[in-house]
């Protein structure tokens, strides 16, 4: 209800309101087909809309990692094919899920917060409520669901692109040949690491969308508040993604 928009309080108040928001956003939809349509729209926006930036970022991360590992290994006795192994493992376990989600927190998070904030300020959310629409489950639920399903895809793309970028960078720099790099990539395969990557991606996707939606949904006041909500959404999402990264590493590895 709009009522809660005007309330404010300390950190515990926000945690409580956030938990209630998430609970309400997974309520049974009034008409499943409408929610499905909205989920597909969000999947397109979050997933397809972020592919280019994810490709770019992950390619360069992989390329730089490969070059720097190769540079360091070139001064040691460690075989150069280890560059491929190290880049693969670091991309899968850390760089692809974490860095991609930090980027997504900036791109998707600010977008969601400002979209919902604008809807709140222009009374569009009130208009939904007056019709009897459960605004939590219609406006927030599909966004969370879309992120939880699409972010693992994006992270998988990021991991593959990063490893590929590492191979190109390694061979262009002359430190490690493509064959050596691929030998390192194919040296071992830990299925568990892929699972960890996908779990991280889903959790980070949930965190960055739910936190951003919270900031936007409860924005009130002037247009200035939308900017504030977007900034808070990005900063909080990034911090929570990094915090969750540590917790998941402890729990899953």
């Amino acid at each position: 209800m709009a009522e809660y928009v005007y309330d404010s309080g300390g950190p515990l108040f926000h945690v409580g309101r956030y938990v209630l928001m998430v609970k309400r956003s997974i309520a049974k939809p009034e008409k499943a087909i409408m929610y499905w349509k909205e989920t597909l729209r969000q999947m397109y926006n979050i997933g397809v809309g972020s592919v280019v930036i994810i490709l770019l970022i992950s390619f360069f991360i992989g390329a730089v990692s490969s070059f720097q590992f190769a540079y360091n290994l070139s001064k040691s006795m460690v075989p150069m094919y280890y560059v491929g192994y190290v880049v693969k493992e670091s991309m899968i376990l850390e760089l692809a899920p974490t860095v991609s989600c930090l980027i997504l927190a900036g791109k998707v998070g600010s977008n969601l917060a400002s979209e919902l904030g604008t809807m709140r300020l222009t009374e569009q959310i009130d208009a939904y409520e007056i019709m009897g629409v459960n605004t939590f489950s219609y406006l927030i639920g599909p966004k969370i669901l879309a992120a939880v399903t699409m972010v693992p895809f994006l992270v998988t793309i990021a991991a593959i692109t990063g490893i590929w970028g590492g191979m190109i960078s390694g061979s262009l720099s002359g430190y490690v040949s493509s064959n050596d790099y691929l030998q390192g990539v194919l040296m071992t395969f830990e299925a568990k690491n892929i699972v960890v990557m996908l779990v991280k991606a889903a959790v980070f996707g949930f965190l960055l969308t739910s936190i951003s939606c919270y900031q936007g949904f409860y924005a009130h006041g002037s247009a200035l508040e939308i900017g504030k909500a977007s900034t808070t959404a990005v900063v909080l999402s990034c911090v929570m993604v990094l915090f969750a990264d540590l917790i998941l590493a402890w729990l899953l590895l």
Binding site: M1, E3, T122, Q124, D126, E129, I130, M131
Partner: protein
């Protein structure tokens, strides 16, 4: 019928509504008027359930809306239509999709039935040809008419309008007012309008509620308005010399008729 009983609303220490009791006449145009900050919008939001009153009751046909749970409220809400101050059209949807949204969400009508209903309503508000336009591509007056079309598409029993004339030129304001009035009579809707617009007040006010500093200060209709002796009301309605003169002319006319 909508009855409001002892309605109080506070935000922290600030008491905005101070025990308002009134009845909105069924099938008529009911106006809530008052200065900025007098509590009009808060009262309207309490009546439609966007805000929970601190104390008091809002009865829709005798059912207490305030104490209902969300599911029961949602059933009542499907009988409400609301036109917001800024129209509150959904930016990502076209005019047609905006109007169709409640039908899509809450009815089992076939696609052609929904389309027919949307076309009928858009025709009623004189918006033929704007179906595929987005809210950002149409004028303020057209946005208001789209908002009215969306509000009445489900055949509501009650229509609430929050400052329907705000941001409109005088001529478009009259068009929007006339449209609301006609729809109220045609569909026998109970309409509650929150307004600052004096033309609306003197032309359409079948029931007028004047709020002053969160209190009900005066209640009447467009005829009794001219005879009212309430200072705050007169200062508010007939604020300029021109309007004071207009009131005197109207009073003379009424006296001659008597």
């Amino acid at each position: 019928m909508i009855e409001v009983k002892d309605l109080y609303k506070s935000f922290g220490d600030q008491q905005v509504l101070k025990g308002i009791t009134t009845t909105f006449l069924p099938g008529k145009t009911n106006l809530i008027i008052g200065q900025s900050g007098s509590g009009k919008t808060v009262m309207l939001k309490c009546v439609v359930g966007l805000l929970n009153p601190t104390e008091g009751h809002v009865l829709f046909d005798g059912q207490d809306y305030v104490s209902m749970d969300l599911d029961e409220k949602n059933k009542i809400r499907q009988q409400l239509g609301m036109l917001f101050q800024g129209s509150a059209l959904f930016d990502s949807l076209t005019v047609e999709e905006n109007v169709m949204f409640p039908l899509e969400m809450f009815t089992k009508m076939s696609k052609s039935e929904k389309q027919d209903r949307v076309n009928e309503v858009l025709k009623r508000v004189n918006l033929v040809g704007a179906n595929k336009k987005f809210p950002s591509q149409i004028s303020g007056g057209m946005q208001k008419r789209t908002g009215i079309a969306r509000a009445i598409v489900m055949n509501p029993k009650y229509l609430f309008c929050d400052e329907p004339n705000s941001g409109l030129d005088p001529q478009t304001s009259i068009v929007v007012d006339e449209l609301i009035k006609e729809i109220t009579e045609e569909y026998n809707i109970t309409t509650v309008i929150n307004t600052h617009d004096m033309n609306s007040v003197v032309t359409h006010g079948e029931k007028i509620l004047f709020l002053y500093k969160g209190n009900k200060h005066w209640e009447g209709d467009k005829v009794s308005l001219f005879e009212a002796e309430n200072k705050e009301l007169l200062d508010f309605i007939f604020a300029s010399d021109f309007l004071k003169e207009a009131r005197n002319v109207r009073l003379d006319k009424l006296k001659k008729q008597i």
